[in-house]
């Protein structure tokens, strides 16, 4: 294990930025999101929940797929995907829940057929996670068996008042470590263990620590789908996309064309199953009410996705939706209502 003094973090960032594009939580316009690091940027590593999750790095909110160049009646197709020969990048400060979310996304985008747009970005990334030390009341990653005190990743780091502690887990991690080695010194194991213990003590007091998910099983699918509680749960839903867009695991997108002076850009952008036109097809709309859309989102997270992915839920308990839903609806309420007997 290595460590670096907190005051010297800027040197670390600077060093990483020499060879990598460095994405790190930065405060801009009052909000903390992952942005490319640069000298003078306001890094906010401790921020528990960036507004947008790190998925934006691999699965950007909007991404060009290809271009059609038209000249008169001729049409040429140009590949515009992110080029692997560009600088690889580092995602720095990823929290345990968000790292788990990347695993959820990988199962979607890297399974056959592979989404090569996602893949090329994913492969070029080295992920440096950061253990949580100060969870807040909306956190419930432990309900999904995630250990916020020891996240995985290519490199795992811990931060306390004095140092950042650094531990490489993978080859990519080793390579990054080698690149910044000159700034690191050895040691810190006890500090890390102490932090883990104290954080775990806090984690036990999380109000959502013991959510019961036992009813979300494939065999209960029909029963859950038909549950009358969906009506009242979804009643206040505005049908906005806040929950899906701040969610680290939501993966739906739309493909659209944009007309330029030269032709057309075909791009994809995040879409939300909460939107009424999400299911709009030539024949009509298969989900006509907000209840159906609302139900779809949570059934997918808690039933459909796990039934196809060995029981892995596509919720990681980051709590962003708990904080951000305009009308205070969220997945916790759904779990408590439908998840199982022990939720009362």
């Amino acid at each position: 294990m290595f460590k670096i003094a907190k005051e010297r973090l800027n040197e670390l960032y600077s060093k990483i930025a020499e060879t990598f594009g460095l994405f790190i939580p930065i405060k801009k316009g009052g909000e903390v999101n992952y942005h490319v690091w640069g000298e003078g940027k306001e890094v906010s590593l401790e921020t528990l929940k960036t507004v947008k999750s790190p998925k934006n790095a691999f699965f950007p909110q909007s991404e060009n797929l290809m271009k059609f160049k038209t000249e008169g009646k001729n049409l040429e197709i140009i590949d515009v995907r992110w080029d692997k020969t560009e600088k690889p990048f580092v995602m720095f400060g990823v929290k345990a829940c968000d790292y788990k979310a990347i695993e959820v996304l990988d199962k979607v985008f890297l399974a056959d057929p592979v989404d090569t747009y996602y893949q090329s970005r994913r492969e070029a990334t080295t992920i440096v996670t950061l253990a949580c030390s100060r969870p807040e009341e909306s956190c419930f990653c432990n309900a999904f068996g995630i250990d916020a005190t020891a996240p995985q990743g290519d490199v795992t780091t811990w931060l306390d008042g004095e140092n950042l502690y650094w531990q490489a887990n993978t080859q990519k991690g080793e390579a990054l470590t080698a690149a910044v080695k000159e700034l690191l010194t050895e040691g810190g194991e006890e500090k890390v263990e102490a932090q883990k213990a104290s954080t775990k003590a806090i984690m036990e007091k999380l109000p959502f620590a013991s959510l019961d998910l036992s009813r979300f099983k494939p065999e209960n699918l029909n029963e859950l789908f038909e549950d009358p509680a969906w009506e009242s749960m979804s009643e206040a839903c505005l049908g906005c996309g806040t929950c899906t867009f701040v969610c680290p695991t939501c993966q739906c997108f739309d493909i659209r064309d944009f007309k330029t002076n030269e032709g057309v850009i075909r791009y994809r952008c995040w879409d939300s199953c909460m939107y009424s036109d999400f299911t709009l097809m030539a024949h009509g709309n298969s989900r006509t009410t907000q209840m159906q859309r609302f139900r779809q989102r949570f059934m997918h997270k808690l039933v459909y996705y796990p039934s196809q992915n060995d029981g892995l839920y596509s919720c990681v308990g980051c709590g962003r939706c708990v904080n951000k839903c305009p009308q205070k609806l969220n997945i916790v309420k759904v779990i408590k209502t439908l998840g199982g007997k022990n939720n009362d």
Partner: protein
């Protein structure tokens, strides 16, 4: 506030019991004290979860678009600022006045949990409202904050404590208007140079994730199908691919609600990226006031809006600078 909540609950119970109304729209207990959610109550039993406290900031009026179409009468609790939206919706024939029983309720300003958390209470376990002081219990320490400092942005500039519409009222204590001038922030921006203003809005709007929360919560944005969802409009788009899209979205949205926006402040309250969206709408309001005479949307449920009326001597567009005639 506790007494107000009890009275509201009692009244809701009476209305439901007597069959006068089929449902009551109010707030229901959330997971914490600070996250009550809008809800409709159809039986006295359901009222057990009824709550009304400092975190009931949501403007419930827009729910009436759907609710007032249901069988039977709907009762709704409206804070003074929500009553403007209600009138505007009636004016635009979006809700049927006769099907609704409006209960005007007391509001002493609503709280912003994010502001409380920013004071260092980031694991809030309990909140207690004691007049101007808010006691906060958190895992990382307890303390108190001044209410003034943690009000929702929209409540800081509260435009008054008078209900514009009501069938009955539950007001037990005197209410106070906001302390800040609502155009102060707009004026601050107006005083900047073009470049500074541009930089300000670029930074703010770049945060936009096009989640549409502002639009979907907005009582003025009551279109069945928004132009941004309609491919035929030529401006439909979902997510940003370029900064322009956010500008376009917010400019057109502000224009569409101009003269109709009651300044209820919901757009800024719900924005996950905390973009001060109300400053867009307020600019229109300020300009309308300055150019065509003071106008408050939702003051009445009748009449034309400033953009659907004119006078022969109106200002020329080229002469208007910063909302004033040059």
């Amino acid at each position: 506030m506790r007494d107000v909540e009890l009275k509201m609950k009692e009244r809701a119970s009476e209305l439901l019991k007597s069959g006068e109304v089929a449902r009551v729209i109010g707030w229901k207990k959330g997971e914490f004290y600070h996250d009550p959610q809008p809800a409709s109550f159809e039986s006295v039993e359901e009222l057990n979860a009824f709550v009304y406290n400092g975190f009931c900031g949501a403007n419930l009026s827009k729910y009436l678009i759907q609710m007032s179409k249901k069988e039977g009468k709907t009762a709704i609790f409206l804070k003074p600022c929500d009553s403007y939206s209600f009138n505007q919706l009636v004016k635009e024939h979006r809700i049927v006045r006769e099907n609704i029983h409006v209960i005007a309720i007391e509001c002493q300003g609503k709280l912003d949990i994010e502001k409380i958390k920013a004071k260092g209470f980031d694991f809030v376990t309990e909140v207690e409202e004691n007049g101007d002081e808010i006691a906060v219990a958190s895992l990382y320490g307890n303390g108190a904050v001044q209410k003034d400092e943690v009000l929702l942005g929209k409540c800081e500039t509260c435009k008054g404590k008078v209900h514009q519409v009501k069938d009955e009222e539950i007001i037990l204590h005197e209410m106070q208007a906001g302390k800040k001038n609502r155009f102060e922030e707009v004026e601050k921006l107006e005083a900047m140079t073009e470049d500074e203003r541009f930089a300000f809005w670029r930074e703010q709007l770049q945060k936009c994730i096009r989640c549409n929360a502002c639009r979907n919560v907005c009582p003025a944005c009551s279109c069945l199908k928004c132009v941004f969802d309609n491919p035929a409009s030529g401006i439909a788009a979902k997510a940003n691919d370029d900064k322009f899209e956010e500008q376009l979205f917010h400019i057109i949205r502000a224009f569409h609600v101009s003269g109709r926006c009651t300044d209820c402040g919901e757009c800024s309250r719900v924005c996950p990226q905390n973009i001060p969206l109300h400053l867009l709408n307020r600019k229109f309001i300020k300009d309308i006031d300055g150019l065509y005479g003071e106008y408050q949307a939702g003051e009445t449920a009748e009449g034309k809006t400033p953009l659907t009326s004119y006078t022969e001597g109106d200002a020329e567009p080229n002469d208007v600078v910063n909302g004033e005639v040059r």
